[in-house]
């Protein structure tokens, strides 16, 4: 068995630990297969010793091959730069497993997802309401991610029950799914006593499009375009993670030029979104000048993307084995010149914001998310960093970021201001990173390694602007996709918003919401 140090580490906490198999399919992945009775303890021990939330927990329908469902639980081991997956097979008759949610909250949403899409029951889960297949339109007993699903079987429809807060003077404010702005749909139900919010329940899933099922049966090359449409403002991070998974399966290592280019594009995506977030926060605090100014900077970055790749949102740039757009000397000059102007404009924007007392008063100590809450909920990415949790895949899985001495940004206070400051510092760091990467670009380097897709399983990952984007991919003997599990950071982080707004007044909700700036479509899939 591989990795004896992990086994001995688990055995210290869990003496009866007896794995069926431990393998290391890739340098950055360890897979531990256990018997179903050991699954829960193994996961809880890994959660404790790695200080990692559940990064992904999902089911596979392998009834045709092995007569069972498989459950995989993925943790991240930052110290050793690797991902640890615990897996088990469960029999297909009355499928179920012991719920982890009560001992480890970060498993909760994933278990609800498994229950609604596969009909595999997490026994003992305190809340099995459906997330995406809304009871009002989707009959019970239909599990779309099962391999034998072929169309809806009409059954009784149900109704979603919101949590109720009772008490003298408590009233509810329902908002959505269609909101006032140009934004995605979601339902927010505030329970308010006087002015402060005492409970916020967020119901999402309105944009569910069944993306994971659409991946199945597609070739990896065809599916790149689909991954770009999971969350439109993170299209590059998604295609990055997806292509990386496919490349790992095929044993392809991308040319160095492509690795630098991917990092440049990933940072450009971070920049336009961060400046958009900064402008959005100014707008939601009623400060329109910097908001308009930020939108000019955002437009400049989108136009730069267009000049470099032919796409404002960096679509159709990634492909399996590399990239399709090169940055030659002329484009490099355009890139560096534009960055210079963008940097100047951004500095002015920051000065305007920081010198406004009324703006700073609005964002300071508003919407505090404590580190303990963020850790308990298993939050990731930008939101976790603003609450003081050091988590960034670019630091712990550096790749080419090692060559440019990437500096991770964290803040301690966890309020709207902290999230604003993380964005501002990351924007500045991204400019520096792109400038460094640009010096490493070769005059004419190879952009792509071509190789057929093999059969296998792998995890692809990228630190998008919101946080880690994960793609767990399985291909069949013909190279077509068998299963693709997508985890957008928004799926972890939406629950954080419910806690950050507590004690704040409803008029500050848009500001808190914008400081999180989560994806509806990435969550709803």
């Amino acid at each position: 068995m591989d990795c004896p140090e992990i086994i001995s580490g688990i055995k210290k906490e869990f003496t009866g630990f007896n794995p069926l198999c431990v393998s290391r399919p890739y340098a950055d992945e360890v897979v531990i297969k256990v018997n179903p009775p050991d699954f829960k303890n193994t996961c809880l021990v890994l959660h404790k010793i790695l200080s990692s939330p559940v990064m992904a927990l999902f089911a596979l329908d392998e009834r045709r091959k092995t007569g069972s469902f498989a459950i995989n639980c993925v943790f991240v081991d930052f110290r050793n730069s690797r991902w640890i997956t615990v897996t088990m097979d469960i029999p297909q008759e009355d499928p179920g497993f012991d719920s982890l949610a009560k001992s480890m909250h970060s498993a909760s949403l994933f278990e609800r997802e498994i229950w609604e899409a596969f009909g595999v029951k997490p026994k003992g889960h305190p809340d099995l309401r459906r997330l995406r297949l809304h009871d009002e339109v989707w009959p019970q007993g239909n599990y779309p991610l099962r391999k034998d699903f072929n169309g809806i079987n009409p059954q009784a429809l149900g109704e979603y029950k919101f949590a109720r807060v009772d008490g003298e003077g408590v009233f509810e404010v329902p908002v959505g799914p269609v909101h006032a702005g140009i934004i995605g749909p979601g339902h927010f139900r505030f329970s308010v006593a006087g002015e402060p919010i005492i409970n916020l329940e967020i119901r999402l899933g309105f944009k569910h499009r069944g993306i994971e099922k659409l991946f199945e049966g597609k070739s990896c090359l065809d599916a790149v375009g689909l991954s770009e449409c999971v969350s439109g403002d993170s299209s590059f991070a998604h295609s990055f993670a997806f292509t990386q998974a496919a490349e790992k399966i095929s044993g392809v290592s991308i040319p160095p030029q492509a690795a630098y280019l991917r990092s440049i594009f990933l940072e450009l995506e971070r920049m336009y979104n961060h400046v958009n977030g900064v402008g959005g926060m100014a707008l939601d605090a009623g400060f329109s000048f910097p908001s308009a100014y930020a939108s000019i900077i955002k437009e400049a970055i989108l136009q730069l993307n267009d000049k470099l790749t032919g796409s404002r949102y960096l679509k159709k740039v990634n492909t399996i084995g590399g990239v399709l757009a090169d940055i030659d000397d002329t484009k490099k000059q355009i890139l560096l010149d534009s960055l210079k102007h963008i940097k100047q404009d951004f500095n002015e924007l920051v000065k305007i914001l920081y010198s406004s007392v009324s703006f700073m008063d609005r964002v300071d100590t508003t919407g505090i998310l404590h580190r303990k809450t963020a850790e308990d909920l298993g939050l990731v990415g930008l939101i976790a960093r603003a609450s003081g949790i050091p988590t960034d895949l670019r630091k712990y899985f550096p790749g080419v970021y090692k060559e440019v001495k990437f500096k991770m940004v964290t803040q301690e206070s966890g309020d709207v201001l902290a999230r604003l400051r993380v964005r501002i510092s990351e924007f500045e760091e991204s400019i520096r990173l792109i400038e460094e990467f640009a010096t490493k670009l070769a005059k004419s380097g190879e952009l792509r390694t071509s190789q057929g897709i093999k059969e296998g399983r792998a995890l692809g990952y990228a630190e998008g602007w919101r946080g880690p984007v994960l793609y767990w991919l399985e291909t069949g003997p013909t190279g077509l996709i068998e299963r693709c599990k997508i985890v957008d950071p928004s799926f972890h982080n939406w629950q954080g918003l419910s806690f950050a707004v507590l004690g704040n007044i409803i008029p500050d909700f848009p500001l808190c919401n914008k400081s999180f700036d989560l994806s509806y479509s990435g969550n709803d899939l």
Binding site: L133, I296, E348
Partner: protein
């Protein structure tokens, strides 16, 4: 304040000149409706946007069309916060089953005369998502669509040009 004034003066006017250009498609019923709209509204148009499952890129571009560079508002076209104030409904995304009711209710809440514009390839026929178990297909099978703005996502320039061309008599 001094920073705002300085930036304002140094930046100057960033808004660009835009000529109307019809890159989209107008449905046959569109031309009759157009006459009615022009009669009723002149060149002012208030639009309510509804996202029925888009990836978010179309929304981002619609917002960009309102930025100081494209400045859609100078042509009398405004995005409004409620369907009660809207003349037109702009729909993005394939219609997810969960959004079908909300889409219909939003349309019903609008005063007459009213019409529907689809924005982006998904709204035309479901795009990449048309074979999904959870989408309802083209918006035009659900509501009377008179204008489509193509693209994945359509650029803000295309959004402005198409709307202007549609409104021009």
């Amino acid at each position: 304040m001094i920073h705002i004034l300085k930036t304002r003066i140094l930046k100057g006017v960033v808004t660009r000149h835009i000529e109307p250009e019809l890159t989209g498609q107008i449905e046959s019923s569109g031309s009759e409706l157009k006459t009615l709209i022009l009669k009723k509204f002149g060149r002012s148009l208030h639009i309510r946007e509804v996202d029925t499952g888009s990836c978010g890129a179309c929304e981002s571009e619609i917002i960009s069309a309102n930025n100081p560079i494209y400045d859609l508002q100078r042509f009398g076209i405004n995005f409004v916060a409620t369907p009660r104030h809207a003349d037109a409904l702009m729909v993005t995304g394939p219609v997810s089953k969960n959004m079908l009711l909300a889409l219909k209710k939003t349309y019903e809440a609008m005063p007459e005369p009213k019409f529907v514009i689809t924005c982006g390839d998904c709204a035309l026929n479901g795009g990449l998502f048309k074979d999904s178990y959870y989408t309802e297909g083209a918006v035009k099978d659900i509501l009377p669509v008179v204008l489509h703005i193509p693209g994945c996502p359509p650029s803000p320039l295309m959004i402005v040009q198409t709307l202007l061309a549609f409104l021009q008599s």
